[in-house]
């Protein structure tokens, strides 16, 4: 299963060649809602009372949507992308050591540079360090479970962590979440804001997860599953998984002889 592969042209990169975005008004490409979970997805019971029932009001992007917060290295600390060390008290956290890496791209296939990526997860036993989590699996004293980083000039990001465990939750009587890592990504404009979850290739809980299966499009679901990337593993240290994230593309505009929104 090559879960991360969209329509392909370059087998080496598993992604099409990037191309120049179309000229226009600087707005983002219309969001294709058919690949996203609907707000009201009864199999995920919490959505029933928390989903708007009126139609969303379509809004052409104005300056309020094209712009968004800008972050820099001053916002981060040196260990923020190392979950093995950023909460370690008297040793390493328990669990399978992994590297998660990939690129934040837009729909034209180009890297989204210098954008903030935040991530959080349960520990190897499936327990979150959160005062509202009461699952019986123990807290790991050396694991916080969150981190963040900025993509580089090409949109690349990476971090180190331990593989999270699956855990039970109240939906059906016997519902379990597949192992997953939550991701929050900004992009360059507030209309690109996205929160999603990354899953692990081969996890047998994936097809029975009431949250994952809110996604109506099989290919869109597969794109949330990170393949094992043995080439990026560190021998005798860490396995690696690769997870590319695609944000909405943007039409260009010309301002003062400079292409903006690129």
């Amino acid at each position: 299963m090559n879960a991360q592969a969209p329509a392909l042209r370059d087998p080496r990169l598993n992604r099409p060649e990037p191309f120049t975005p179309p000229l226009g008004d600087g707005g983002f490409f219309q969001r294709d809602r058919s690949i996203h979970p609907p707000a009201h997805a009864p199999g995920y019971k919490s959505s029933v009372l928390r989903s708007p029932r009126q139609a969303l009001l379509s809004l052409e992007n104005s300056i309020s949507e094209i712009t968004g917060p800008v972050f820099g290295h001053n916002d981060l600390g040196p260990l923020d992308n190392d979950l093995i060390r950023n909460y370690a008290k008297d040793g390493d956290p328990v669990g399978e050591r992994i590297i998660v890496h990939g690129r934040v791209l837009d729909e034209t296939g180009r890297g989204v540079p210098n954008t903030l990526v935040e991530f959080w997860q349960a520990n190897a036993g499936g327990r979150y360090r959160h005062k509202k989590d009461t699952y019986l699996a123990p807290i790991d004293p050396n694991f916080g479970g969150c981190g963040r980083t900025l993509t580089d000039d090409t949109g690349y990001y990476y971090f180190r962590t331990v593989k999270p465990g699956p855990y039970p939750w109240r939906n059906y009587v016997n519902s379990w979440r597949p192992a997953h890592i939550h991701f929050s990504v900004f992009g360059s404009g507030f209309a690109q804001r996205l929160i999603t979850q990354m899953y692990f290739e081969g996890d047998p809980l994936i097809p029975v997860c009431p949250i994952l299966t809110t996604i109506p499009d099989k290919d869109a679901l597969d794109r949330l599953v990170a393949p094992l990337d043995l080439n990026a593993s560190t021998p005798f240290d860490s396995l690696a998984y690769r997870f590319d994230i695609v944000l909405r593309g943007q039409r260009s505009t010309y301002f003062e002889n400079r292409t903006a929104g690129n």
Binding site: S47, S62, H130, A191, I211, G261
Partner: protein, 208 residues
């Protein structure tokens, strides 16, 4: 077969879940990990403009407050300028004012607050003035894809009446769901809002 366009597809959204605080506001999850943290305070002592407190709740279909919701706001400064390179309007930028903040609701009351300044009117691409507003993004357990809405200000009646976005809303009664109400409390200016996810007063959410 025509040539392929080869656009990538956007990554699908997934709920932020009940433990969103761990990643985005770890202090609310109950621990201290980062040297620097993002917060619901957008202002520094140097920020120009009228200091305001935004205060409100997000209600579910039974009218009960969400106690695990997270809101982000994005706004222009008091001069109506967004701190972003794509905003080339004339208002003065303030380096210290990012114009963005995030807040989790109180685990008991569901109350969400921000400390910020009232933004100035925005000039859109065609040169039209848009009423002052704050852009809001809402995520939580049970919300499968972040909800976009806006907050306008009750003391901007004339600007609101002329605002191109508010006027896209067909029913005037629904425009009122986006208006935060101004009051004064202990010498502070407070704008109160309620975001209804469902029901007869369901808030207007945008497909941006």
């Amino acid at each position: 077969m025509p040539q392929p366009l080869n656009y990538l597809k956007e990554t699908a959204s997934q709920t932020a879940g009940p433990y969103v605080h761990i990643g985005l506001i770890p202090a609310m999850a109950g621990f201290d990990i980062f040297e620097k943290n993002f917060s619901n305070v957008l202002v520094t002592p140097n920020t120009k403009g009228e200091r305001i407190t935004l205060e409100g709740k997000v209600l579910d279909g039974t009218g009960s407050p969400l106690r695990d919701v997270l809101l982000e706001i994005w706004q222009a400064n008091a001069a109506g300028r967004y701190n972003h390179p794509a905003d080339r309007s004339a208002g003065a930028l303030e380096d210290e004012f990012r114009g963005w903040g995030r807040a989790g609701s109180d685990f008991d009351s569901g109350l969400v607050t921000f400390e910020t300044v009232k933004p100035g009117a925005i000039t859109d691409k065609t040169g039209r003035k848009c009423a002052p507003h704050i852009n809001v993004w809402i995520v939580a357990r049970g919300i499968n894809i972040g909800l976009n809405t806006r907050l306008y200000f009750s003391d901007e009646e004339a600007a609101n009446a002329a605002d191109p976005v508010l006027n896209l809303i067909e029913q005037p009664v629904r425009r009122a769901t986006l208006i935060a109400k101004r009051s004064e409390r202990a010498g502070k200016i407070v704008y109160s809002f309620t975001i209804n996810l469902q029901g007869p007063e369901e808030t207007v959410f945008f497909d941006v």
